[in-house]
């Protein structure tokens, strides 16, 4: 790795060749198919993809919260600070969850316990991982509330007394209360109003900087990625089809799916005749082909694409594409200069 801002940074999380299946009555859903990525200290990695791409499954696998049954980790490894998490006993995972890895869920309206005061819900996680008294935990929880922009005197109020954005702030407070190494935010703003979305993202960003937390931001919104992420991985049918720096993805995308994602975003600066959403539907994880999963929807598909899975190609340092058509960005000197600086 020669990329500038990553060079000196240590790896916090390393996911390698992760495969997650769901064994259901209708068949086996291949939700995650050999995903590999690394997360560096203090960095925000975006996982982008349509609903059903397997983003939540990866997040739950890292947390050790995949529902068993029906799910099953077939193979792969997840290393947190070099420590293997796959196969860890539930008891060991409990001491990691909430302490080393915090998670924010998609729907703030339902992620909080309706019969417990918000302050107590924050204090709970503090008590679990820090050896302090109930009173001290409450004080700390109150401070956490202040940190996410809620007055501490609302400690005793219940979730129904808060708006959606405020609830998500409480969830963020829970996730960050023990100062975790990693924050996984699974579509943290999808369920919120557009005006609130920006505030919540800003809050996550600010806190991340304060605490030096590494963030995995899961979203289907490229706009969110552009605003908050350092690097980005595009997920399709349980595979990372393209990953790289924001510049790689936003300016030099090579995978037809990534290009398609941009084609389906309305742009204000360019007058387009019409949007070009990707044709067809998300591949069914029950019936994934032996060859490129994107084949049915790809405009560039040809017989050659049916000859097995396309290999990953590092087209420029740190920019990886999983497509037969991927080619080195040799003709792009500016990206090389930047990379080697």
């Amino acid at each position: 790795m020669v990329e500038k801002n990553i060079q000196n940074n240590e790896t916090v999380l390393e996911v390698d060749d992760l495969v997650v299946h769901y064994n259901t009555e209708e068949g086996v859903a291949e939700a995650v198919n050999g995903m590999s990525f690394t997360l560096h200290k203090g960095e925000t990695l975006g996982l982008v993809g349509e609903t059903g791409a397997g983003k939540t499954s990866v997040a739950l696998a890292i947390m050790g919260l995949l529902p068993v049954p029906p799910s099953q980790i077939i193979r792969g490894s997840i290393k947190l600070n070099g420590e293997e998490l796959v196969g860890k006993k539930n008891k060991e995972m409990r001491s990691i969850r909430g302490d080393k890895i915090g998670m924010i869920f998609q729907d703030p309206m339902t992620s909080l316990n309706p019969v417990m005061s918000v302050g107590d819900q924050i204090a709970e996680v503090i008590r679990l991982h820090e050896n302090i008294s109930k009173g001290e935990a409450s004080v700390k929880a109150g401070k956490m509330l202040e940190k996410v922009g809620i007055a501490a005197d609302r400690y005793k109020e219940y979730p129904h007394q808060f708006s959606g954005g405020m609830k998500q702030r409480v969830v963020i407070a829970i996730a960050l209360a023990c100062n975790p190494n990693i924050l996984i935010a699974d579509e943290p703003t999808t369920a919120l109003d557009v005006t609130i979305q920006a505030q919540v993202l800003e809050l996550i960003n600010d806190l991340k900087k304060d605490y030096g937390t590494s963030v995995i931001l899961i979203t289907h919104d490229l706009g969110v990625v552009a605003e908050t992420c350092d690097r980005c991985a595009v997920v399709y049918a349980g595979e990372i089809v393209e990953s790289g720096s924001l510049e790689d993805i936003f300016l030099h995308a090579q995978h037809p799916y990534t290009k398609g994602l941009f084609g389906s975003i309305p742009r204000l600066d360019v007058i387009v005749e019409r949007l070009h959403p990707i044709k067809g539907l998300m591949s069914d994880p029950m019936t994934l082909p032996e060859y490129c999963s994107f084949y049915d929807r790809c405009d560039h598909a040809c017989e050659e694409c049916k000859q097995g899975e396309p290999a990953c190609m590092e087209v420029s340092p740190g920019h990886i594409v999983r497509c037969r058509l991927a080619h080195p960005e040799a003709m792009k000197p500016e990206s090389w200069e930047k990379g080697q600086a």
Binding site: M63, L65, N90, M93, R94, S95, I96, R97, G98, D99, G102, M103, F105, D107, T110, S111, L112, N113, P114, V115, M116, S117, Q121, E124, V125, L128, H129, Y158, H160, Q161, V171, I174, A175
Partner: protein, 336 residues
Amino acid sequence: MWRYIIKRILLVFVVILGVLIIIFILSEITPGNPAARLLGTEASMEEIEAKAESMGLNDPVIVQFGRYVFNFVTKLDLGQSYTTRQPVWGELMTRYPYTLTLGLLATALAILIGVPLGVLGAIKQYSVRDTVIVFLALVLMSIPNFWFGILCINTFSVKLKWLPPAGTGTWYHWIMPVVILSLGGMASLIRVTRSSMLDTIRMDYMRTARAKGQKESVVIIRHGFRNALIPVVNAISAQMSVVIGGTVMIESVFALPGIGKYMTDAVTALNWPAVRGGVICLAIAFSILNLIVDLIYVAIDPRLISRYNGVRGREIRKLKKEMAQARAAHAKEVNG
């Protein structure tokens, strides 16, 4: 919060007054002269007339009702039993403990067994354990109490001679009546708890709790069970009316001298003061139990109080204040 509680307590009095009115009207329109019934068949017309006058039976109905309520409230006087000539209140009080013990023990047993079984079934849905529990609930639900009572007496008292067939005295006497009375409630509590737990187990906040690193047992009890409780408490309160009704039958089968037995005897003897007193006693017990259940609701679910007076009330008050201010400002502008 206090506004709700006080209102809810006042409601108990309103309900009891309503019951008094209905009972009074019913006994007014039933045939028979109370004075004649009290004095028996040998009394002369004059004696009966005098007795009726002294009892105030010739006064307007509304006056009689007022007196009845007044006597009850101030002197706990519910009139005299036709059959024993004793004050009804005293007779009821000697019987009340039996019914109360029977009802409360049966309810407690139903809760202690039904609720944990429901939870145990739900947390391992479709497992063998769950299937057995669901089947058990089905069997318990379809057992007819009366028939099962006789069967039990036959088996445990007559054949095995383990338990006394009827009456009171030792705690052995309570076993069969309490267990049999609790079965129906137990079955419905298993079912309600199980389905309510199944609903909450799928909720997102359970995942949030696990994401904190909380133990599974604590996740299920602290986060799941408390949320699942609301329908369960509802079922318990519904069950209590069934239990109170059930005591009447169980008391006759096991010859327990409770209010149920007292009332069945009173009805067959057309002993109206006794029936009236019994119904009032049960109504009071029932209202108080329901009051307790409602207060438990409030304690479990903070949303109830908010719905009652919280957030919206605050908003409305704020809005009213703003409107008043705007109006004042407007008036000032117009005048000034």
